[in-house]
Amino acid sequence: MEGDFNMTTFLYYGLEFLIIFIITVMATIIPTISKPGIMFGIEIPFDKKDDGLYKLKTRYQMLCIAGGFVLAAVTLILHLQFSMVIADILLPLFMIAYLLFTIIIYYINHNTIKQIKKEKGWDKDTNKVILADTTRADANLPSYMWFIIHFILILATGLFLLLIYPYLPEFLPMHLDIEGNINNFAPKSLKIILLPVVTQVYITLICIFTFISIKKSKRQLDPKDPVASSKRIRMFKAIWLYYTLALSFLLNVLMAIIAQLMFVTPEYSYILPFILFAMLAIILIGTVIISVKTGQSGSRIKIDGKRADGSIQTGSDKYWKAGMFYYNPNDPSIFIEKRFGVGWTFNYARPASWWITAGLFAVIAGFVAYSILASS
């Protein structure tokens, strides 16, 4: 867009490229930081570091990086050739296309490895032993009580906004444009003044749900080294639980800052893009760094100076559809570790998983609806 080159515009573009960079990095490093012994969603005997398998991993990673460059180039072209409005609509589509691209390469590799495993007869070599730790699942993990601090913050924000409501102007700023100027106002109402608080509540509820699901997730111990794997899993859970707490708190603070800048001191609202950029950058980069340091189920955490190497094969490939979706009616657990990636996923054989997924969609849809209604 022609006109004055503006710090805010620069930040906006910077954020887009940062997101592209992070997406590319995450897609590329997933095979390296996922659980050892599982390649592209298929269990591999841990002593079979096959050359052919290694080539598949390299191929995936090279393609992800190449795709990332293409995405960046496309973004540049979009901004140079088209108006901001069109670019804003097309860019997310291209990002989704990139993610689909990475999923397709993953799936091709997944099937190739499945084939190799069958041909080499590796699927004969399974050990169905299962382990459990009698220590409490939530021992040494942060307590739900930490969220009380978050609710105190939310309460304080709400009270403050209600108290100053009478002193606010009749029209409240609702939106900043790409140059950092306020370009939309709405008549003041309780619904609008409490929008930041509603957002805080939604964010905190989702984070509490994440917290619960991580705490309750299945502890899959490694029969080759049960004690170390139990420790790793505990540390892995603890790190991501504290991360969720920090994220929730940070976002709640951010909403309070936004409320302050937009409603109370709109003359300073131009610093909002900088704050947003900084926060998003911290969250995105932080997630990548923590993912790399911990590895899936803590496999990269060093216990006695060693990281986890591959485990035995459990023969549970058949429950992992496409290596990404877990469906096991015999397993009562709802949240289990991902096979490809860092984090947890659902056991889709449990009805609770579907209710929760629907619930999350409803929560998000409800929030979007409320925001739209409140600001119209």
Binding site: I130, A132, R219, L221, V227, N330, D331, P332
Partner: protein
Amino acid sequence: MIMSVNPMLETPLYLQLKNEIIRGITTGELIEGEELPSVRQLACDLGINLHTVNKVYDILRNEGFITLHRQKGATVSSKENYKITEEFNRHLKCDLTVLITEAKCRGMKLEEFCQICNNIFNSLNSNNKNGRGF
């Protein structure tokens, strides 16, 4: 304590689980008053049916090894609650008869059998926490 069960073995899962818990109490890895995981948590971690774990906890409670509290869940009982009973003696002789008969049939001598028993008894000590491999 780490417990392990294997669905591929002949022994039913619930029996394996029961034996694991009793083993833990024997070697001292599970101490008196220690809380056992909730039925749900244990079933989820092992990936087995809740009813199986429920059954195990029921059996252990009936035999006096664990106590079920309303808030705390299952805890390991004190030694007085699980002594040698007549029923246990019957059960012991029954199972041993099966094993000894086949051992004798296959030519095992009394001394060798007793030596094996000795070794097993001695290995189940408080300082031998990893009494078996996989």
